[in-house]
Structures are given as C-alpha cells and as structure tokens.
Assembly symmetry: C3
Homo-oligomer: 402 residues x 3
Amino acid sequence: MSLLNQIEKKEKVKNSLFQKDFLLTWEKSDMELKIILELAILLKQFREQNISPKVFDSGLAVSIFRDKSTRTRFSFASAANLLGLAVQDMDEEKSQIAHGETVRETANMISFLTDIIGIRDDMFLGEGNKYMREVGDALNEGFKEGVLPTRPGIVNLQCDMDHPTQSMADLLHLQQYFGSLESLKGKKIVMSWAYSPSYGKPLSVPQGIIALMSRYGMDIKLAYPEGYELIPEIVNIARTNSEKSGGTFNISHSMTEAVKDADVVYPKSWAPFQIMQQRTELLKNGDANALLSLEKACLAQNAEHKDWEYDTQKMGLTKNGDALYMHCLPADISGVSCTEGEVSAEVFEKYRILTYKEASYKPYIIAAMMFANRFQSPGQVLRKIIEGNSSRIGDFSRLAGG
Amino acid sequence: MSLLNQIEKKEKVKNSLFQKDFLLTWEKSDMELKIILELAILLKQFREQNISPKVFDSGLAVSIFRDKSTRTRFSFASAANLLGLAVQDMDEEKSQIAHGETVRETANMISFLTDIIGIRDDMFLGEGNKYMREVGDALNEGFKEGVLPTRPGIVNLQCDMDHPTQSMADLLHLQQYFGSLESLKGKKIVMSWAYSPSYGKPLSVPQGIIALMSRYGMDIKLAYPEGYELIPEIVNIARTNSEKSGGTFNISHSMTEAVKDADVVYPKSWAPFQIMQQRTELLKNGDANALLSLEKACLAQNAEHKDWEYDTQKMGLTKNGDALYMHCLPADISGVSCTEGEVSAEVFEKYRILTYKEASYKPYIIAAMMFANRFQSPGQVLRKIIEGNSSRIGDFSRLAGG
Amino acid sequence: MSLLNQIEKKEKVKNSLFQKDFLLTWEKSDMELKIILELAILLKQFREQNISPKVFDSGLAVSIFRDKSTRTRFSFASAANLLGLAVQDMDEEKSQIAHGETVRETANMISFLTDIIGIRDDMFLGEGNKYMREVGDALNEGFKEGVLPTRPGIVNLQCDMDHPTQSMADLLHLQQYFGSLESLKGKKIVMSWAYSPSYGKPLSVPQGIIALMSRYGMDIKLAYPEGYELIPEIVNIARTNSEKSGGTFNISHSMTEAVKDADVVYPKSWAPFQIMQQRTELLKNGDANALLSLEKACLAQNAEHKDWEYDTQKMGLTKNGDALYMHCLPADISGVSCTEGEVSAEVFEKYRILTYKEASYKPYIIAAMMFANRFQSPGQVLRKIIEGNSSRIGDFSRLAGG
C-alpha cells in the first residue's frame, strides 16, 4: 500500500504525535494532520478487508462526557474497540465545573490501567479546553511520580474552542469528495450560521471548521447575522492560516452574498460568543433566573433570523447550483425535526447519505489519534499487522457476511 | 458431535438465516428455527467444555432498550461477549416514539463498526415491531449506499407482537424437558392469563408462546377472563399453525377447565389488547389525565380476577397433578413479591429451579441468532473452532475452576 | 522471579482461596492474605513489563453497586479487563434493601456466563454483608442444581462491616512503604476519626483497617471522640488479632495523645455505629422525617468536633514529625473540598502523591482476588504466562509508548 509508504516516510523523520494529546488542530503541524488522515484511511480499509488492527490485548479507554452525546460516544467506543481497548464511561454531572484537587485526583484514579482518555466538555466558554489541560497536567505528574505505569493520551471529543475529531472527519470527507487535499485549494467553503429554535449551541464546530479548512488554501466565507460572533482569537487563527496557505478569509452578514459560487456550504446554528460568555458566568454563579432571561432573549434574537435557512433557492446560488452540503448532525431540518430550522427538508434529503458518509469517518479519525498517540512508528506497526495477516472475524473471513 | 452434522446438513441446502433479521418467529421456517435451537445447544455445550466460540476479534453489539430490562440485557451482553463483540448501550427515553429521519440517522450513526443490534421496544402497540423494521430499512440503505461496511443484523429483544428470544428459549426448555421436539406432539400447554396487581404488561410473551408452540403439534389452550384478548391477527397465526401441525387451538375463559390434564402451564399477566391500543393513543397524545384514568380502570378490572392465581389446588387438576410450570420471570408470587399474584408461593417454589433453567437458555438462543446472522455456514465455523481447540480460559483449562 | 516461587510453594499445600468468596479479611488465613499480596505485586510487575495476564478469552465480571462509586468502579473494571473479562454493570436503586426471592433469582439471572461478581453494599448496617452471603447461597444452589455452568466468585467491594479491597491495598502500600510485612511489627498506626461536614459515612474503612493491620504486630491506636463507636464485635476481632500477633490495641479519645510517636496516621470520618443502626431502621421503615431529624442531630454532633482535623501542628507530634498519612480518598480537605474537614490542605498536599500510590494498588488487589478465586494454582498459571511471552500491546512492545 502506497499510503503505508507515505506514513513510514513521515515517521522516519519523527512521529511527533507520539505521547502528545490531541486538543486543538491549530497546535498540530500539517504533517501531523496528514498522518492522522492517512492512518484513518488505512484503518478504514483494514475494516473493509477484514484485517484487524487490534494492537491492545487489554487496556481501558475512558470517556468523560460532560455533555450528552450519541454520535461521538459511539465513534469513541468503536475506535477503542477496533484497537482492543475496553470503554469505561465516567459520566459527570454536566452542570458542574470541576477544577483543582478534584480534577488532579480523579485524573489519576481513572488512569491506573488506562491508555486513552476521551473528553467532551463544551458547555462553558473558557473552561472546556482548560479542563482537558488540567487533566493532562495531572496525568503528567502522576506518570512522573510513578503513580501511573504509562501516561494515557487525551483526545478532545469537543471543547469550547475546537471539535477536532469532527473537523478532521470533515476534512477527510472533503478530501475523499474532491479527490485530494491539494484539490481543496481555491475551493470556496461557506461556514454559515443558520436558524435553530434551540439555544446555547456550542461554537466549537464553526470554529474548528474555519481554523482547519483555512490551512488548505480554501476560500473561507464565514457568514452570520450581525451579533453572532465567534471567539475573536480563533477567527484570527483562521485568518492567519488563510494568508499562509494562499487562500482567503472573509466574513459576510448576507447569506445570499455568501453562498454565491460556493463549492461547499456548512450551515449550522450557534450561540453568539458574547452570550456564551454571559451564560458561563451565570452558570458559575448558579443564577437560575438570569439564565432563564438570557435564554428568552437569545431565542427572540434567533427568531429574527429565521430567513437563515438553507433551501433549494439559496443552494441554487452556489456553484452550478450544486455545492456540497455538510453538517455534523443532527441537523435542525424544517418540517422534519422542527418547524423551522437550519435546512429545508428537500436540501437535506438530497445530501442525507453524504452527511452519513461524512460522519462515518469519525471513528477512524479517533482511532488514528489513539494509534498515533501510543506508537512511535504507527506505519511500521500497521505493516506488521498486514504481514501478520490477522483477521477481524475469526479465520472465517471467507465465510463471513457483510 | 452429531448435532454438528445435523446443522451442516441443513446449511448445505442454504442457511437462510444468513444476513436476515430475527424479528418474528412466524416469519421463520421450521428448519430455520431448528438451526437456532441446535446452535444454541452446541454453544451451551462449548461453554460447559471450556471451548470458546469467540469468532469476533472486535466489533460492537449495540443494544437499544426502550423499556427497562435486567434479564434480557444480561442475556444479550453474555451472548455478545461469548462471540467476541463488545456491548454498547444506547438507552433512549422509554416514553418516546421515534420515527422518520431520527430513526434513519441514528441507525446509521451507531452502526459504523457494528455487527449486531438488539432492540427492545414493547411499550406501544403497533409501534415496536414497526420501529425495528424502520431501523432495518435504514441499515439496508446505509449498506447499499456505502455508508456502512457491513449490514448489522437485528435481533428482536421483545416488541409489541413477539418476544422471540424468550419463546425460543422456552421451546428449548420444553425440548430438553420432554426429550425432543417430536415428543411435544399432543402435549397440552395452557397459556394462561393470571392476576397481577400491576398494569400494562406487554402481550408479546403470550403471543409469542401460542404462535411458536402451535407449530409442534401441541394442544394449545389459551385461557383468560373475558375481555383480555390478544392481538387477533396473532391468535389467528397460532390457530393456523395448529391446524398445519396437527395440534389443536382453543380459547377458554375458565381456568379450571383450561388446566385439566395439562402437561404444561404458563400463567402470566397481560393487559387486554384493546386497553393497550387506547394507551398507545393516549401516550402519543401525551394525555396524562386520561392515562391515569385508564390505569385506574384497568387495575379495577384486574382486581375482579384475583382468582386467576395458580395454586396447589389448580395445579392438582393438571395431568397427574404434575404439569410443568413455566414463566419468563420475574413472576408475581403471592405473599412473596406481592400480596396476591400470578402464582402461589408453594407452586412457584416447586418449580423455581426449573424456571431458572428455562431462563438459562436465553443467552445461547441470542448467541445462536447472532451467529446464524453473521455466518453463511455456522456449522462449518463451529467445526473449525472445535478442531482449532480454542479454550475459553487460557491454556489452563485443566487448572480452571467451576 | 522469587515471588513466583513463593506463591507456588504456598499453593503446593493448597490454594484455599480457590472458589471461595472474598468477603471479610478476618475469614482469611495469613497465608491466604499473603498470596493475594504477592499475586497483586506480580500482576503490577506484569503490567509494567508489558506482559499480559489475560487468562480469560471471554466471560463477564458483573458489578453490583448499591452505593455510588468512582474509584472502586474503575478498579474493578481495570482488574476485570486485565484478566480478559468484560464488565457488565447491574445498578440497583441504592435506597432499596433486597432480600429473599428477588436476590436468589437475580443472582442466577446475571450469572449464566459470569465468572466474578463484585458487590458494593455499604449503606445499611447489618445488611450489606448479609446481602452478599445471600447472593453467594443463591449461586451455590444455582451451580449445584445445574442452572449455572460454573459458580461465580464474589468479591466484596465494600459492605457495612469491611472494605477488604481497600484495606488490602492499604496493607500492600504499607508493605511497600516500610519494605516488608515483617517491618510493620511494632509500628504505631492511628486509625482516627476526623471531622467532616457530611453525614452517614460508612464504618467499613476504619473497621477494615483495625481488623487487618492488627494481624501484623502493629500498635493500633483507634482514636475518636466519645460517642463515635465502631461495631463492637469487629473492635473485638482487632483486639484479639493484636494479642495473637504480639501487637497492641488501644482506644483513645484524645487526638493529641493518639498521634504521639505514630508511624502512620489514617484520619477518616465515620458515623457512630449507634446512629447507623437507627438510620438503618428508619430507612427500612421509610421514615423520611425521622431521617431528616437524625441527619440534623448528627451534623450538629459532628460540628462539636471540628478540632479533629489533621494539620501540620498535629502531624508534628508524630514520630520525627514524619508519620505516613493515609486515606482511601476522596478526603475532606479544609479549604479545598470543604471549608473545614478531615485534613489541612498543607498536610494533604505533602502526602498527596502517596495517597494516589496507595490507591494504585487496588486494581491489582482486586485482580489478585479474582485470579485466586478462579485458578487452583495461580502461581503455575502465571509461570505459564511468563513462559508464553504474551505481551499486552501487540508484538510491538518495543515500539510502544509509556
């Protein structure tokens, strides 16, 4: 496999992902991201060819979900199982912001025989990513002090800043759809706010998308009604990435202007950055009344922008009327999952199977992150697996279904 | 093993269970049911002889429980583990009736690396089995469209119509108790309503029992107080089965008449079919007050039939006063788990261990259903396992306990 | 490995742990406890050397938690996974006292393919350990009657009387800290009550500590304010053990007197034995008002003893001002996890990493208990594993991180 050669060539230099947490895509080099993509593709091919990459005989993959999840939970569980790790959930109350001794201690208590910890903590602006780093610091100390036999790797399953397993799965989808990373150059992608009847949706997806896609020379259009700003520092990262990669980065407050000649549209609701800040403060103080008022005000603000729905007419303005529609799912589909939402039923139905495919990369992206974290030379390990001829379904692969 | 020869002989024709969901026993041929029974017995023997039928190196078995469960949950987990699959639970709110896009999408999202999906959905008449088929259709589409690398098989863990893992375990129990399927011919089994102080018990067990046992030439007596009808279409299936198999099928509203000369009695409470229909409508409309009124009316109706309790006197009317008592557990035992219930403490105690044995077949029945779904030639695979000499407990079987 | 030789030497006599539940340390012989310690150390070394002791190809380890838990839950899951068992949780409502048919039946229903059952039931005085024995009796019957293919072993994960996985991990910590079990002779350990702003903490840790450490010739000082008695029968066991082992056993109601020249201090809050008895009665009767009154009275009683906090000044009274501080975690740390608590922030911080190490032994203690329960000759099995050269992380150990 030529992919394997490419990975091995890269890791001869050095697998700098080895024993490093995966917290934000913008902390990773282009080569590191490429290794993840290539590993993910290989692992997917393995599955399709009944080759088992089960490298762990035992060991735990701990998931900490501080917000509910179905998709990411199953992706994490699938990735862990694929490599041979058993999932152990550690569900904390989602309304709690834990820091200090509790975090330090818990991080060690759940890690005595653990290889990977996946964390979702996206509720509180300024807190989620910080929490992951606190866990990481505690694990560093625990390993250094001889408490832990190994230093478990952390995978960010969504925080307040980034959603790297989502954005990397999305990037892999774009790569597969357009043929290569190189072909993304000059393609126009619209990361757009869209109307939703719900409140407080995280910023991590739009932030993750603009910060990542801007590295591949794409023309990024960030579109939203005035007042729905993202975290300014992350917008700046995207802007800088675009300059470096030879792409463009622009903000628009007009949907029709934004989607013009787009190759890709990613319509997704989010709460304004400033609101999320206020909300975090109110949650910290446990101010239930003020939270209720804030929610009401936000929903009213949202309702002024019900025209931000992606329907056939607006999709018709894209390049050849045929831009690729993307979504992290579940989408708010007008007349299906809500009365008025992010996308019309007709548009969603046209791209429905493609959104499922987009989602199907996530387990392999997570498995690739786990793999690169635990092995210095993932390419060599995968080569050995191929040579070892280990099959997922018994010795009975030719009898097996699927 | 001669059992193995029998399975291989059948599958030489064709394993028509391969890649087919197991949703209703009456959709399966006699030969298909026989393969399940034989596989279950073999898998049970394997366990007792420390032979491991772990055919999956990795892979998920997803359970969707839309109603609470202990017994079936553990049986499903045991079966999955026996074959090498890791269980991932997906617990939805039990009060919700999901359809359409939510089902289609979720079915795919949980299936990227999944081999088997087990579903319990027994709360809503006309909905549970329909839901399983919607999941199945979504999986078909996902596999056809290249979203899924394999099409996971579905095992019905109880719906509104049937409870096939229960009825098949019960059939295996009868086969073992009386010596063979053939010896069931002419035996009289009473599927009887019995009093319970609770409300809204599903119809799937009595329906599953009469529809399955009627295929083996048994004399079926369905006994209940007037007004406690089952779904008419399923009663008709049982009636037709009886005609074909050379058995009989009769309904009685008198307990004492019904149990006369019975070989087997299966006393179990259920809610009248018409009530379940009303309840489903009220639940759909979220009409809490009407639901409460309905519950009160039903409990009052139940209370008129407290004499439908299986005690020593009534069991004395059976053949030689010694009919086999069966129950899917947990039973409502008078003076033990409730004041007045389905069965007297004395009768239950006499048959207690036998009801445990009856339950002990369920993990193997589920494993057999999984196995036959994933392998074209399950007999050949099992033969290879025996030849491969793989032991469940290390290489240490002769040291191991148990 | 000389440890291995020692274990094999012991088991040549007879592994009397084989197929016996581990419910109370005082039911086990000194040699049995020593085998557990040695197995735990070996299993820990295996992990550190990437040797996999995965002796089970499949099989379930069921956990029954009738009180919440993070630490012990993860320890149990880690131990099960290390040996190759899949964890299946069976969470009952914690407020329920189940006995009789429910226990008998459930014990069998969850055990058809189960090797180990771990139980935590520490809420009700006189109930938790009794419950475990009821489960054990039911399993005995199920195995004898042919319901179960094997008799699963039970590990007590904390009851009303003892917390053997904790006390054995603590003993292993002391052994490692002081160099050997023999060196514990004559060392002074203070098992001390300490102030906590919470109510109803179980007695099992202090009881487990005094009953176990008194077997190794230690000078035990049990310290608490008047009125905070432990279960008298267990205090008597500790007293008798001390006499036999050549140690001493004394009770003190003065903290400053107690800690004088101590080698080890274990400050931990608990509820008075008499209060726990009252509470159990009120819980049985479901008397919510009386429970509330009792809680208030207890918290007020606690508040009179806020001076029972282990701070730098009190630790300064210990031997060379340098006694080992121990805790089962989480501790109530003044100014950190509560305003006023069991231990000052300064003292806790000094020993923080040591408490993590103390906790790190628990997964291996549990694994050792599982192992000794399932194999007649655990030493021989471990020797075979070493000879078999099975590595935890693929064949890639030299590439693997950690």
